[in-house]
Symmetry: C2
Subunit: 282 residues, 2 copies
Amino acid sequence: ALKERGLKVTVVEMLPQILPAMLDLDMANIVKEILEQKGLSILTEKRVEEILGEDKATGVIAGEEQLNADILLSAFGVRANTKLASEANIELGETRAIKTNARMETNIKDIFAAGDCAEVPNLITHKPSCSQLGTIAVRQGKVAGTNAGGGYSLFQGVLGSAVTKLFDTEVGSTGLTVNAAKKARIETVTGTINSKTRADYYPGAKPIKIKLVVEKESHHLIGAQIIGGEEVTQRINAISFAIQKHMTISELAKADTAYAPPLSETWEPIILAAEIVLRKLQ
Amino acid sequence: ALKERGLKVTVVEMLPQILPAMLDLDMANIVKEILEQKGLSILTEKRVEEILGEDKATGVIAGEEQLNADILLSAFGVRANTKLASEANIELGETRAIKTNARMETNIKDIFAAGDCAEVPNLITHKPSCSQLGTIAVRQGKVAGTNAGGGYSLFQGVLGSAVTKLFDTEVGSTGLTVNAAKKARIETVTGTINSKTRADYYPGAKPIKIKLVVEKESHHLIGAQIIGGEEVTQRINAISFAIQKHMTISELAKADTAYAPPLSETWEPIILAAEIVLRKLQ
């Protein structure tokens, strides 16, 4: 948004890649290139070591470089604010967010937690996670509200489906990245495809890149990352549904999809990516 | 396309509705209204009784009306051309298309059938169907080719996911309509929602209408019909995956979806439609 307003923008990222919760390094580098082509400067593996200026910030020291700036925006990640809960003796979980059961109850009777401060299990690893997405917060709120009001509802866990728009590029993710799977000690096989969002000959067809992450032993789909010019969000939702219902990669490779030249390719790119994984597994 | 080239177009349809394979009457009437707003004239429940003219068609008699025309386009449905198969003593099925097993084999050894002439089971009803969609044909071709080449592959059946673009409106369908379910003696409950394709306040948000069809006893999702200004195809694919994996409507109502204001609503319309079905089932 700042770039679109004509400002010169430099992003300083401590990690080796941007969007680490959504993308693996290979996919993140593609997004980085797209942003650089739009004129952003992105420095990875650089820490902001010092903020310069007296009354007003005038720049930062990052790595060994001095970056002068008129505006300094800090975004150092999100952490659950659990002060109120701690003071009320409500138990926190291993992610330092509020521990809840499947009904979103805390350890104190009649006290429920929902949203960015609440810990919930990941649907694939079953380990506690703190997703801090609006979609998850509203779902948790509904479950907590139903239970608090005397009803019965269970929160089933988080896949972390998310999407964002960077200039004209849509970037989406669901389930585990290869990196997140590795941390959970899950062995994976991936398939990545470059395709188009409409029939190749159709005016307006835009590029789309899909990476599928599959659990090696069970052949279950466990994640996807998509970068494309359009139609990314609903592909993420489609893969989210498939993950939730334990679809195997061979089931996905044969799944029924809709086709019309102005709207899609005959072979849906998700299906083509599934074929690539299958070939690696054979 | 003819209308877009400036011609005055009248559609004569024998059935009470347009797009009967894709939509129920309620949804078809919405598409009809959209087409009429674009200036098309659509006559339903009217048979073309006579084609007028001598050297050249000059019009038709439909119902009791005479419609004069410079161009006459006939589209009286599609039927499998099985002449070659019949002559070769290849067995036909109850849809009058070529009978095949799950490997796309006919009753004659080493002879396979695929595409518009081949009969395959519907994934929900398990009854023979003849889907005649390009997407299905390519999938059947792949299975037939793999088996003919000495490999092993099964065709899993058809949901009939399809999408089309009429002016600026996208119309999609997967699984069974209420009407098709009734013919298969399946009792259904439906949920229909009007929503937007992006956050309501976001410029460019377009209307979308989703109808879900659910099997009453099992609560399994068995079909969907969508009419919208954009992002219809991948929603159809998402629901197709859910149907294939026997997702129940309560699982769908809690499914993890992706959200960003320029790309979607916080509550995905598919999820809202699922909530409506759930309320009817309670």
